[in-house]
């Protein structure tokens, strides 16, 4: 498959089309929204499903196979937000607090970007190591910590670390992802076969519905983009490619497959818009949500969904054989 065919296959996939429909709904000022309870249910389903599948796959992997990718993910978690913080210093006029807030978002991860990416890779019959969702859980937290720490250099007061960390650790993202991995590890393949119909076959459909709602939310954010200036827009589309390339490289160095390395690249390229905003809002009230949410949700998320995912696969295919 050529790069163009891959890009086209991604753009015409059901989740991406639903996302575009959601954005269109905001353009025509439709009042379409998923009811809040449905949105919450779908997000719980996705988080738990990803966790369980990762855990089941982990139960079939040897510790030696997982150790290097895990170490690589931890290094990515520390390096990416630091690079984002300093890159923003060159590219924008934002103060340290807002740069730290953005670093927390870009250091952390987006479950939906990852899920759409993995479904896309699997639709191309590419093998993706099952334990990558464990890497997703690992990468979710350090970015937020590093981002907040960098931002705190611009503050004259102390950051309320305990409250923000409790929010991150007990928030549903980590609780369901890590809990799901533990459940999957415990139940193994035989236990999973009993719930596979619900968490396996229905999964792409639920993701499609979820992306419809995210399209609506992102569409509303796109209007705020001008607040951040052109430097922020450039950052929001170039940084995912840089961070994602680090991720793909790390995957290959750690001995992962082409699909697995692309998936790690997608995780590294993605920016958080659920866990990180919640933590940043509590710890850094001075930072502007108009800046960090517009960048992560309004620009980077649609960019990754349409361009970033196939780009990571293309980069991973290029790197194959080099290592």
């Amino acid at each position: 498959m050529s790069g163009l065919e891959i890009a086209l296959a991604n753009l015409t996939s059901a989740p991406v089309l639903a996302f575009v429909l959601g954005i269109l709904a905001t353009v025509v000022k439709s009042d379409l929204r998923l009811p809040d309870a449905v949105y919450q249910t779908l997000s719980i389903y996705l988080l738990l499903g990803i966790g369980i599948k990762g855990g089941v796959a982990l139960s079939n992997s040897s510790p030696a196979e997982v150790a290097l990718p895990l170490l690589g993910a931890l290094i990515l978690g520390a390096v990416i937000p630091a690079v984002a913080f300093f890159a923003l210093g060159f590219m924008t006029k934002l103060d340290a607090i807002n740069r730290g807030a953005l670093a927390a978002h870009y250091g952390s991860t987006s479950l939906v970007t990852f899920t759409a990416g993995v479904l896309f890779l699997e639709s191309l019959q590419l093998y993706v190591e099952g334990y990558v969702s464990t890497l997703l859980a690992v990468l979710e937290i350090p970015g937020i910590i590093v981002g907040l720490a960098l931002a705190s250099r611009g503050l004259k007061r102390k950051v309320s670390w305990s409250e923000s960390m409790r929010e991150v650790l007990t928030g549903k993202s980590i609780l369901l992802l890590v809990g799901g991995v533990l459940m999957g590890l415990t139940m193994g393949a035989s236990g999973y076969s009993q719930i596979e119909g619900f968490f396996g076959a229905l999964f792409p459909g639920v993701l499609t519905l979820f992306l419809l709602e995210l399209g609506i939310v992102a569409g509303k954010r796109i209007r705020d983009i001008k607040k951040g200036g052109i430097g922020l827009v450039v950052f929001a589309v170039t940084f995912p490619l840089i961070a994602g390339s680090f991720g793909v490289l790390t995957g290959h160095l750690a001995g992962m497959s082409v699909g697995g390395s692309a998936a790690l690249g997608i995780i590294a390229a993605s920016a958080s818009y659920i866990a990180a905003p919640a933590a940043v809002r509590l710890a850094l009230p001075e930072a502007s949500p108009g800046v960090y949410l517009s960048a992560s949700l309004g620009i980077t998320f649609p960019f990754n969904l349409t361009v970033g995912i196939p780009a990571m696969l293309a980069i991973s295919q290029r790197m194959e054989g080099v290592f």
Binding site: D36, P277, R281, P285, L293
Partner: protein, 99 residues
Amino acid sequence: MIMKQRKLVTVVIEAGLARRLEGDLRAAGAKGFTSTLAHGAGPRDQRASEVDGGNVRVESVVSNEVLEVILEKLEKDYFPFYAISCWVSQVEVVRDERY
């Protein structure tokens, strides 16, 4: 029946801050509160919780002294930063020892 005067303080705040606010109400001396989900729009629209949760409306019936503490706390730690709306009304209660 004898009714006593109390103040009802109503705060509408972005959902991500609700837990902190409820803790601060307790710390200020409020003996209880009621929280319900809410949605609406304000003049500034400065929120981070659009993706997750919307707003929460937190209500508490308190004495004048506790109200002062709550309003000072809001003025210092909430009003400058968050999507928040707050108003106070005069109410009458029976069983005044509960409030």
